[in-house]
Symmetry: C2
Subunit: 348 residues, 2 copies
DNA sequence: GCTTGCAATGTAACCGGTTACATTGCCTCT
DNA sequence: AGAGGCAATGTAACCGGTTACATTGCAAGC
């Protein structure tokens, strides 16, 4: 491998001059600069970034530590992060703990000396542990994880507010008996969305004991919830799923049972994954603005890198309600709907 | 920042012993090893990977250079790559040239000394340029880019074979007048798919001048193609789009025009993006197995890293036909379909 | 008792850059 | 002419690890 010393020798100068010439420092003669550049060209010299990072004490890259790589979430997030990183000339070092919370610490440690800052999305479990593993020396921003005690900067989505907005919207549209399908136990997003739903429903309709079904964010669990509702002949007229995939599963089962989603029963999701636009009927949902989440986190991290020791306020992004056809009520009245569910329930 | 020298001092040993103890070398007494470990713990020492990489001449990470981060492609690819990288304890360094071919060279150079190998997906234009920029010293695998001349190892999808299979399938299903909607000019995937379509159609039906419409992989261009066909009253009974997004656009316009996709006109795509499963009707397509592409490329790269100088054969993955409802013919005969298109064309 | 051998530990070079500081050489000013 | 100043260039230390080689100390063998 050709090093800067080879270039210096080839050009007949010292390594210092070579370094200066190649880094556009202005304290080299134009003549020697050209000579050095030519030598580098001749030897097809490529600087060794690792070595460069070591002396300059900066790496021009940021680490991204994620709990897993499932779903739309991660790609949107990366897209947002990348946009900002690119604008600042930074590379992305990706680390995935593959759903294993024990990997978290080692993932964060492995980043030491390879990145200028860290974007960390803690897994649902043991995130306290992870936060403690963060070295105070390397700037870090937490993704989607409010942690009021620890002073680590964070960027998150207002899941609770989003769920409140959706709940109010459903009620405004005339839906009264709304059931909520939750995500995995312990999941922070799901818990916040459920809290928003419960609070808004109490406020708006006075309902104190709303119906809740446990799901796990998978399409299958959404389908299962719908089957449960049909079999149980529950008198409901809308289903609010904690994420879109479950809503999609729901819709599939309802359609198979001959129940017209939208007209007869409202279905809403959360996330606004691309699929939501294309299902039949298209799905009413909250756009979680995940790319913007990533971008905001990257911006915040870069600010932190440039101004170490600052303690920025947590950012909370408001999701946006996207009303589509799955919540357009048909001619049938609410009572008629409910009874229809009961009938269809038998035939399924 | 605490370094290994700090740890050594704290434990009252030399840096060599500290390094040995921390790296599980067996030539240290258990007693001193424990003493050093304890000291490291006390100082909460985290090794500086950058420095480590420099001396060991290996970084335990691989670089991934992509033309952009659009669509499903990239997330699936990363997922596949990550699976293998993780299994081998490697990190991923991501670089995105943001659709700018001129960035390619600098992206590859920036990786020098930070990765043990490179996974490169050349942009459509100027990929020759990029291949030349690859240093022979750092192992690299080309993604989705056959390059028979240059001896760079590669992994790709058999786009042509896939398109042939789909074309034959459509003909078997009874579709006769098939139009192909291509992707962007210069796009390698699109060109190969088109070639497969043209060849298979000539083989199977003897058609020498198949209908081709130029698209650009966007949903809008698929919609535009459908509008063109309707307005032009083209006597066709199936549309084969070079990717799924265009097929989705097609279906939307056809449905709006009152033409029943599947029954009256077949529509097929390519890629099998998640949406394809959920559209109404669900979309017949070729599963491009992108995650497997990434995984295969990562495997090949790791092989190359472990056995430098080897010249593995290019890998070509066969895509898989996924027959769904958009190509299920209804009762109406082909002739009836065509005339119906003509009628509907007027009314749109 | 003295050499030999071996295991544990220490010293210092090295990886490939950057840069503080030293040196050189030339120009200008008195 | 000599001092002073400044710009160009060179020397060598340094970043934080790893490791070849040197050294030490102790047990075994003669």
């Amino acid at each position: 491998m050709v090093t800067i010393r080879d270039v210096a020798r080839e050009a007949g100068v010292s390594v210092a001059s070579a370094s200066r010439a190649l880094n556009n420092h202005d304290n080299v003669t134009a003549a020697t600069r050209d000579r050095i550049r030519a030598a580098a060209q001749r030897l097809s010299y490529v600087p060794h970034s690792g070595a460069r990072n070591l002396t300059r004490q900066k790496t021009d890259s940021i680490g991204v530590v994620l709990p897993d790589l499932f779903g739309e979430f991660f790609s949107e997030l990366i897209r947002g992060i990348d946009r900002i990183a690119y604008a600042h000339g930074l590379q992305l070092l990706l680390s995935n703990m593959h759903g294993n919370p024990h990997e978290a610490t080692s993932a964060v440690r492995a980043m030491r000396g390879r990145v200028d800052g860290l974007l960390v999305m803690p897994p649902d479990a043991q995130h306290q542990h992870l936060i403690e593993a963060l070295s105070p020396a390397v700037p870090a921003v937490l993704l989607n994880c409010h942690d009021p005690r620890a002073g680590v900067p964070s960027v998150g989505i207002d899941n609770e507010g989003g769920a409140r907005a959706m709940t109010r919207f459903l009620v405004e549209r005339g839906y009264r008996r709304i059931v909520f399908v939750s995500g995995p136990r312990n999941n922070r997003d799901s818990a916040a969305r459920q809290a928003g739903f419960v609070a808004a429903l109490a406020e708006v309709t006075g309902e104190r004991h709303p119906l809740l079904i446990a799901g796990d964010f998978s399409e299958a669990s959404g389908a299962e919830a719908a089957r449960l509702l049909i079999a149980g002949r529950m008198p409901i007229d809308a289903i609010f799923c904690a994420n879109d995939m479950m809503a999609v599963g729901c819709c599939g089962v309802l359609a198979d049972a001959g129940i017209e989603v939208g007209a007869e029963i409202g279905v809403a999701g959360f996330d606004d994954i691309p699929i939501a636009h294309y299902t039949a009927p298209s799905l009413t949902t909250m756009n979680a603005r995940i790319a913007e989440l990533g971008a905001a986190a990257a911006e915040k991290l870069i600010g932190l890198i440039m101004k170490p020791g600052s303690r920025p306020e947590p950012t909370v992004l408001a999701p946006q309600l996207i009303a589509r056809l799955s919540t357009v009520r048909g001619e049938a009245s609410r009572r008629a709907n409910t009874s229809k569910i009961l009938q269809k329930g038998k035939s399924s």
